[in-house]
Structures are given as C-alpha cells and as structure tokens.
Symmetry: C2
Subunit: 427 residues, 2 copies
Amino acid sequence: MSNYSELSREELQSLHSDLLTKYEDYKKKNLKLDMSRGKPAADQFDLVKELLDTVNSSSSLICENGMDCRNYGLMDGIPEAKRLLGEIMGVQPQEVIVGGNSSLNLMYDVISWAYTHGIRTGALPWCKLEKIKFLCPVPGYDRHFKITESFGIEMINVEMTSSGPDMDMVEKLAAQDESIKGIWCVPKYSNPQGITYSDETVRRMARMKTAAKDFIIMWDNAYSVHDLYPEDRDSLLNIMEECKKAGDPSRVIIFSSTSKISYSGAGLAGLASSEENIANIKKLMTVQTIGFDKINQLRHVRYFKNYEGILSHMDRQAQLLRPKFKAVLTAFEKGLAGKGIASWVCPKGGYFISLDVLPGCAQRVVSLCKEAGVVMTPAGATYPYGKDPKDQNIRVAPTYPTVAELEQAVELLVLCVELAAVEKLLG
Amino acid sequence: MSNYSELSREELQSLHSDLLTKYEDYKKKNLKLDMSRGKPAADQFDLVKELLDTVNSSSSLICENGMDCRNYGLMDGIPEAKRLLGEIMGVQPQEVIVGGNSSLNLMYDVISWAYTHGIRTGALPWCKLEKIKFLCPVPGYDRHFKITESFGIEMINVEMTSSGPDMDMVEKLAAQDESIKGIWCVPKYSNPQGITYSDETVRRMARMKTAAKDFIIMWDNAYSVHDLYPEDRDSLLNIMEECKKAGDPSRVIIFSSTSKISYSGAGLAGLASSEENIANIKKLMTVQTIGFDKINQLRHVRYFKNYEGILSHMDRQAQLLRPKFKAVLTAFEKGLAGKGIASWVCPKGGYFISLDVLPGCAQRVVSLCKEAGVVMTPAGATYPYGKDPKDQNIRVAPTYPTVAELEQAVELLVLCVELAAVEKLLG
C-alpha cells in the first residue's frame, strides 16, 4: 500500500471519488452501532451470574468478624472485602477502604474533600487557595478531566510516551509549581492507549520532588487485572511499595473497582492509601455516611474468594474480549497500515484502542462515522476541556458491540479515516 | 408519687441513700447493654429475607424500560425504583433521583455541592461567601449537625414545639438574614422526639419569606412509613405540593431511604425536588458517578412492588417494635411520673424516645448509666456542636435490644435519672 503523502493530486482525486462512493453506499445500510463507551457486553456479565446466588434468604449474613452485614457499621468495609480489594490493589487490608459501587465516585469524593477540607495531614482546603492545577497525561480518561474541570482546577497536558507520562515534564512541573496539587494516572493498560507505566516511570513518580506538600497521585488502576493475554500480562510496579521506599506513602491514592470484573454499577469499589491518609479519609467519610453495602461485599467475596479467583474469572473474560480487539486491529492493519495516515497501539489489556489520525482530522472522522450511523467517542474527549490540540486522537471502545457489528463499524471507521485524510491532503 | 421538689432535705438524703444502694447493686450485675443508636434489630431484617431471592442467576435483569441493570447507565435510577421512592416521598417519578444506599450520603452531597458549586439555579457556591448559617431545630439528629459543622456552617438552634420547629422564630430568622441558607427537618416522627410537623408548620415552611434566594429545606423524611400504630398513623402534609402552591418548589429537597425498611446499608436511598433542582443536581452528579446499584433497585421493587407493599411490611415491623417502645414508656411512667424530675414524649412512630431530665443532669445520667454498663447516646448529641445548653435531653433508642434487655436497661436509666435529680436537688 502506498503512502498517501506520496500520491499525486490526480491520484488523490481519483481515490477521493472512490472513497466517497463507498461511503455513500455505507450510508444506505442504515447502520446503528455504538463504539463510544467502554461498556462490557452482556456475555461478560453472564460469566458471573452465580455471584447473585451467593447470598439468598437461607444465607448467613454474618461476616468473618461476627458483624451482621444487614445492619449499620463497618464503614470502611467488611474484613474479607478489604482483603480482596487489597490483593487487587497490592496493599494491606488496613490501607483499604471499600466504598460503594463506583471508583469514579471515590475519586470525586477525594478531590471534593481535598477542595473543601484537605486530605493529607496539614493540607489547606483547596477552595481557600487562589489557584489549583493538576497534571493530566494525554490522551487520558475524560471523566477524570471532568472532575478537575468541575472544581475549576486548571489542567496541564503532559504527553504520554510508550512508558507512561513524559516524566521529565512531570518532574519539572511538579517541582517548580506549588499550585500543582496532583496528577491523574491510569497506570496499567491506560485509557485510551493501553500503555502500562514502566518500572522507571513508577519509581520516578514515587520519588520526584513536589513543590506542593499535599501533592496526590490519583492512581486509577482500573484495568489491573484486565489482561487480554493471560500468558503475557503487563506487569506494573507496586506504587505503594515504591512510595514507602521513597518515604512518602501518603502521596498516592489508589483506586480500583470490580465494575468491569463483576457488574458495572453493582460491583465493589475501593481506595487505598497510607494508613495516615486512610485515617484522615475515614474522619471525612464518617460525616458523609454510616457505611456502604456490605451485603454486596459479601456476595463478591463469596463468589471470587481471593485474587486467584479474580484472575481466573478475568481469563474467561479475556476469551470473550480477544476476538473483539483482534477484529479492530486486523481491520486497522488491513485498511490503514503503510498509508501514513494513522497510527495505533496494540494493547495487551484494558478497554480501548487509541487511534491517531492525521492532525486536524479526528473531528471530521468522528462526524463522518456518525453521519453513517456509527457513534464514536467524541473527538477531543480524551483531552482536558475536550480539546485535543492536534485534533488527532480517537478512542475506540471495542467491548460492547458483537464481533460482527465491530467488523462493520471498523470497516466504516477505516473508510472515514481514509476519506478525511484524502480531504486534508487535497487541502 | 410525690414531686421531688417538695421533699425536705432529710427526705432527699434518705432517698439518695436508697437510690445509691440500688445503683451499687446494679453495678454488680455487670450489664452490657447498648441503647445508643437507632439500629434495627435482627428480627426486623429477618422479615425481608426473601428480598434477597428476588434476583438470582435465573432472573431477568432487564428493567421496565428495557435496560440491562448489570451495565452502566440510568444514573438517576431505574423507572420502577423512581416510582416506588416517589410514592414514599409523595412526589412524581421525574422529581426523584435514586442514589446509592445512604440518604445521609445524599444529604452530605447536597450540602457539599451547594458549598462547592451551588445547587439552586443562580446560586453562588457557599465556599465563596463570608459566612453561611443553618437553622437547626433542637433537639435533632446529630449526623445532620455534623455535616453542617464539618463545612464550617454556623448552626442556630431553634426550639422544637409539639407541632414542629418554633415557626415564629424560623420565619423571623429566615426573613432577616441572607446568610441563613437552610434548615434541617425530620418532619415526621422527628429524631429524637417523635413529633410530626403540623399542617400549619408545613404550610408556613413552604410560604415563608427567606432573605437567601438559595434557601433550602433539607426535608429528611426518614420515618415517613415508620408508624407504630397502623390504625393511628400521624399524617404529614405534602411539602412538595405546598411549595408548588407557594410558587417555590425548588426550596425543598426531600430525602428518604429504605435503611430502616429493608437493610441498613443495603437499602435504597433517594432524593426528590423540583424538576429544575433535579436537572441541576443531575448535572453535578454526572461528574461524580456513572450510576448507582441498579440490581439492588430491582431487588427492592420486585420485593415490595409498590407503596402498599411497603406499608404492609412496615405494619409487620411495627408488631416487633411496639413492645419495645412500650417497655420504655411503661418504665418511665412507673418510675418517673409525678416526680417532677423528667418529661418525655410518647411517639406514634419513628425510632426514638426523647427524655428530658432536670436541667444540668443529662450528662450525669448518661455517665451513671455507662458506669453501670448501659451505653446511651452521649448527652448533648441531639444539639449542634454536641452542646445541649440546658444539659437536659437524652435520646433513648429502643429498637436494637430485646424487650428483656430493654426492661433491664430502662430500669437502670430510671434509677440514674432519679439519682442525678436528687443529687441536684441536694445541691
């Protein structure tokens, strides 16, 4: 396949006309496909349906410390759930709070508490300060950026590299600007690129000097067990251990959930941090709630039992997801390789494939897809304020549609990438 | 029984000596009883155990609008749960958000959103203002006061009367002081007195002039269906209808939960307000979460079906609670009536009995009880900042212990009330 930049104007015009004909044919198919959100498909949920049977009217609802899970109490979670989430997050049970069904909600709460009260010992509430900034590795997760935006926190883009955020830039900014209070991280199979931070990146993150004493690393380890290839899992260095070695374990707050392990919305979410931060957070949380759903915690522990139980379930889930990722990547390879108009990462896990098209073309591609019945994540969504400075990145979410739907949708996507590229090259 | 204030010093001294002997005998019994918190007892939970069977591995998890409750979506709740909570709160489904397991958490969120962003259209975030105050009917619910205290909101005590908060004072304060942004209310079977607001109180609350344009009534209708006597239920005027009539439906936010209907911690919580406020709140909530546990919503709707189902369940619950309330009230009547040293309200529902002892004696009574092995709610807890200005009110929570335990505990409580009173009268 020839590189489009080497084509003559005539060749491009002829290509454009071919592509347009194909595109018009697609429009006639009246497709209605959605690749916009990282939602699990029903067959993933079917895998865990026996989870719903682990607690029924004949079950004991007493957890291992003798408390009745039907009543108030144990705000930070039942011991067995703290242990399970601790294993997932690579921390000790006493460093864990099991909280509700949504790790996003916990992240919001952390930012909100930091804003209204302060989280780290001695920290001033951010609302009392003139200016607060946050480092945002890009492309990244839109809902992280929405939280910081909502509190008026200025977001600074930091480019992702193949080993994680550009740490030279992170270190430089964090060291020089006291108003930079933290960084958003999805350290394993990052959203949307599927990049896992290198050991070096994790170590530098744990050790870097920060001008702000209350700097926090928002370590959203959403895809920690979401490997596509059980025989070839990315491994992520344990940030908590690294922060302890560096003498500042309160710097990191780790988030995790079973939203993409058990049920999206009816799973367990948790956070982990230093025992000092956990004590501070419990003081704040105690004003907010008497506790979370312990019966659902019991369901999960009785079903998964332990970390091995989680991993073996995720291996079954990977069997469902591999063909979907493969369908997208095969279509990209077939339709886009060698044309010089797009690049992508082949992720070994997570929920997304990140596609970079020619600068200035992402919005056009997404709108061409939409017009032909395929909804993609809005272009720009992977950047703070929804603004991709190069208008280049498109997040592809392959988990929800069937393989057949994906093949159709990606064929169209590829066509739209070509069409937008040719339009651009024609000027 | 003679009024203690009419006894001679000698009579009081002899009484004191008798009471002390009895008290020392109690101490030898090594009691270990807890009447401190409004927790349901296990037999109440046993009543709803089939709720856990309404969703199992063979169930459909599709709600009535066709959505899969296992997946993301429907942030404000499944339609059937919005309808059920709407019936409990006396509002339309579109005025409801079903959110998580804890109405306290929703109240915290509302105050926190008001503080950081503003809830009512056009409202400034409270954190940008010099001073924020809240009206607090007293005695009241400690966890309400803890929320406002935690945000540095100045709390102003308003005395409760037998028809609700002293509305002359509420109207006067709300009309004159722009920094007063709201009021905490438990309008039916109030915590701790069991008082239900009169129609007149509800109407005045809905119609009063408020200097603050973003004034909110935090209407925590926690005990709306918690009647002890199904044939003699207190009736509460519908605040939403009254606010609509008065032209300001955005003034009120209603809260409710099934924490004391189904499970404490594994129930459903919801809030209701004007459609305008609901739209504003949804915008805020959308930053915070993708949604709450819809599978648990499904369990509840499938079990209770509708408002009638809730009421008939609560009638069964009342059968368990009536003997407990009776045990306390009978002991009060027998041990305290006519002595001029205590007064109490006989509630027709709710979770508490409020006992007023001689001024200056509440702390002493609670500490005497504690020394003899009976834990009461800390004296002062029913007041903002934990400070009962007259040191007079004690909240009795009769639901958790058994009737036999209650009889023992209240016998001791009565003795401690007498002892503290005689100590005081002796000077």
